[in-house]
Symmetry: C2
Subunit: 140 residues, 2 copies
DNA sequence: ATACGATCTTGAATCGTTCAAGAAAAGGGC
DNA sequence: GCCCTTTTCTTGAACGATTCAAGATCGTAT
């Protein structure tokens, strides 16, 4: 869907910054705020980092973006949403790769939990080594 | 196991700070560095926060502690380790609760991933509302 | 076109964590 | 038990990512 349309349909005001941020995240999945800022600055010179944070927060709240975090790193953003996919993180190069859920469409929610608890989401992070780093072991 | 023994067996020097930190984490599962500091300060007045961070890092590296992160919060620590359990986080009160893995002992590793990738760990975070917050909805 | 409120810019502040240098103390050999 | 070497701790400053605050600017309903 086009960014402007998606933003308006979500009930948000359409600003240049929001459009640029949403497009930037779509262009660079799993990017941090800093990456998005770098990308947006190419289109809108002089954008403030604060605008980036605001836009990301609003877009995430509106459900147009998903935010997640890996280890102690900065927050990462992606537009692939509502498809219950997970993430694989390489221990060596820190690359993040999408992983389709092995179990099905709305899975991973069958945890054995105490009575009265309501689970509505399961976030899975796989760790290991990506194909490249398996071949060429780490050189930190 | 006793803390001193565990630390020595892991090949680490046994210091008062390390013993106190390990015991503090055992006492307060899912505590942050700040919580651990508060707890340890009761036993060793004047401990530095740096000592806490060092101890936590060393103990984690030695496999006596597990560290994980929830959302944008600080790092959390626990002594329950190597049993492949997961975490439930309440969206309202942020309480963290252990969840035994529904699938078995070494589960959750059957993701459909590209060839050449090696997965060695799966970390699952469940989100929803705990029993208390289901009854008494959020009041932020 | 106007007015209102939302959003952006600017700049400073905060939190959690890490870096750096010297002082203290753990553990092996005597 | 005592000394020596190395690790670990204390102190205090620095850092990155994010948030807070005030005023200027822009989007949108009228």
């Amino acid at each position: 869907m086009e960014a402007r349309t998606a933003i308006r349909d979500a009930g948000l005001r359409v600003t240049r910054q929001r459009v640029a941020v949403l497009e930037a995240v779509a262009r660079r999945p799993h990017g941090s705020a800093a990456v998005v800022l770098g990308d947006v600055a190419g289109v809108l010179p002089g954008v403030s980092h604060q605008a980036i944070y605001d836009c990301l927060a609003h877009l995430a709240e509106a459900g147009l973006l998903r935010r997640f975090i890996v280890d102690g790193g900065p927050m990462l953003y992606e537009t692939r949403i509502r498809d219950n996919h997970h993430h694989f993180v390489c221990r060596s190069c820190n690359t993040v790769v999408d992983v389709d859920c092995a179990i099905g469409a709305a899975p991973c929610l069958d945890a054995t939990l105490a009575d009265g608890f309501v689970i509505d989401e399961a976030e899975v992070t796989y760790r290991g080594f990506c194909a490249d780093c398996v071949r060429t072991p780490a050189t930190p």
